[in-house]
Assembly symmetry: D2
Homo-oligomer: 152 residues x 4
């Protein structure tokens, strides 16, 4: 696939994920082996202390890792596993997950992801943001018989 085809493919997959729409997430960046997904903070995404729930942070990490890996591998892909470290409470107006493939072989891409929070309007200008979590995982190609694994 060309870069344009991969971009279109990625957006097609993302738009076909009901859960991403349910959370209000957006696929805001794709490249060769990279992906960025954002979600706006809103009350129903929070936990008992008013921070964004770890499940939302995990969703972002999982999905950004999958898309970065799929873009590196050149097609449909599945997250086989990942780990996430929460560094700081996730507060702010927008939460952004940026992932990249670090090593890609024929059937898998090992990817890393950094999750940051930003005030409104600052997610673009303030590229660094405040790091609230980092993740690392394995993305595998979704073969004709995806016997195992998640398609998160």
């Amino acid at each position: 696939m060309t870069t344009d085809e991969l971009t279109a493919f990625a957006h097609g997959v993302f738009d076909a994920q009901p859960f991403s729409g349910f959370l209000g997430a957006e696929l805001t960046g794709v490249g060769p082996g990279t992906a960025e997904i954002r979600v706006r903070n809103r009350p129903e995404l929070r936990q008992q202390h008013g921070f964004l729930h770890g499940g939302v942070v995990s969703y972002l990490a999982d999905n950004a890792l999958t898309f970065a890996g799929g873009l590196a591998l050149g097609g449909d892909a599945l997250t086989a596993e990942y780990k996430i470290n929460y560094a700081k409470p996730a507060v702010g107006d927008v939460i952004v997950a940026r992932a990249e493939a670090v090593v890609t072989t024929r059937r898998q891409a090992i990817c890393r992801c950094t999750i940051t929070v930003h005030r409104d309007g600052a997610a673009d200008g303030d590229a660094e943001g405040r790091v609230v979590a980092v993740a690392q995982g394995t993305i595998v190609t979704a073969g004709p018989a995806p016997a195992a694994a998640d398609a998160g």
Copy 2:
């Protein structure tokens, strides 16, 4: 806290999580160092292939780990980090995460979680279910100044 107090405390924390309510999750079991959380499968929780999204599976793992750890530690707790392996596509009527503390020290509990899927009515009788994911993570006490970490 007594077991009854811990149970009440856990339910109080869970009910105060807007995100858990948004997903329709329920805290269906608590014990000394154990927790069980369930969610019913419904279309908005799925990904592009119709399976439950990895983000939902991750939410369940994260939250069940936190509650198991908090119950082992005896109070409010935070997930510092965890890893999850997706084993099989998550399909079925009900998805259940069961977590337990494996080693508890003064400030942390290392917990494991198994996530299973079940057909309607089988989550109780069919205690084993079909394992779709397994997770392991660190839960830390939420001190007076929770400077870092998630409260998922």
Copy 3:
């Protein structure tokens, strides 16, 4: 392979690992999807505080996971990834890693491992020991073209 053949195969692989011999490790148990590896504590395996070095604990976890997964998968296998939580300082006369496959599919086994320490003579009688670390990882079949991954 029959159970006897798998057992012989596992011991053959283990005995062919120079690093396992260098550390003085022994493969002390194999079963269908389970493995146990031990090493005696001695000064050169320690870190600056006199505890067994994390690298030794990691070796045990990595290798026990690989053998448990290989035995579940029925042949040569590689550790694709794992995570380990250190729970307590590793002191004692013997350190034991016991691993088991939790979910096995065609090409991978997701395995868990518990690492315990024991006083001399107690590793058999005191089956539980003192848990010093727990691990979880992915073991994959070593196909004809093992393009990626470790054979730890």
Copy 4:
């Protein structure tokens, strides 16, 4: 501590690790929140296929993560947990682990590590090398009573 004091402290800790000496490892770089450890490939560090054993790769990751985190935290530190993905077989003359702290708070540093292999003489000039593994973990301060965790 000043940078010079931290550097001296790190080398003092490393030199006090019998296991690092046993493997022939060297602490070849330290900075504020970064560390580099190397080991020369030799037969006794290998597994059954002639690659460096995963336990050696894990030792390097674990120890480089600990030193990077300790340097970020400004003192004695312990690896609480980490995960490692093996990407490719570890062959070559020298294997190098480079770690850095990504997020540091009062009591912990979340660190990442990249492990590369190099031909003789190329570890300096060929700074990128061939990535054989990547890791991520949590390093915690070693308080006056290090009740839990590894000091790998």
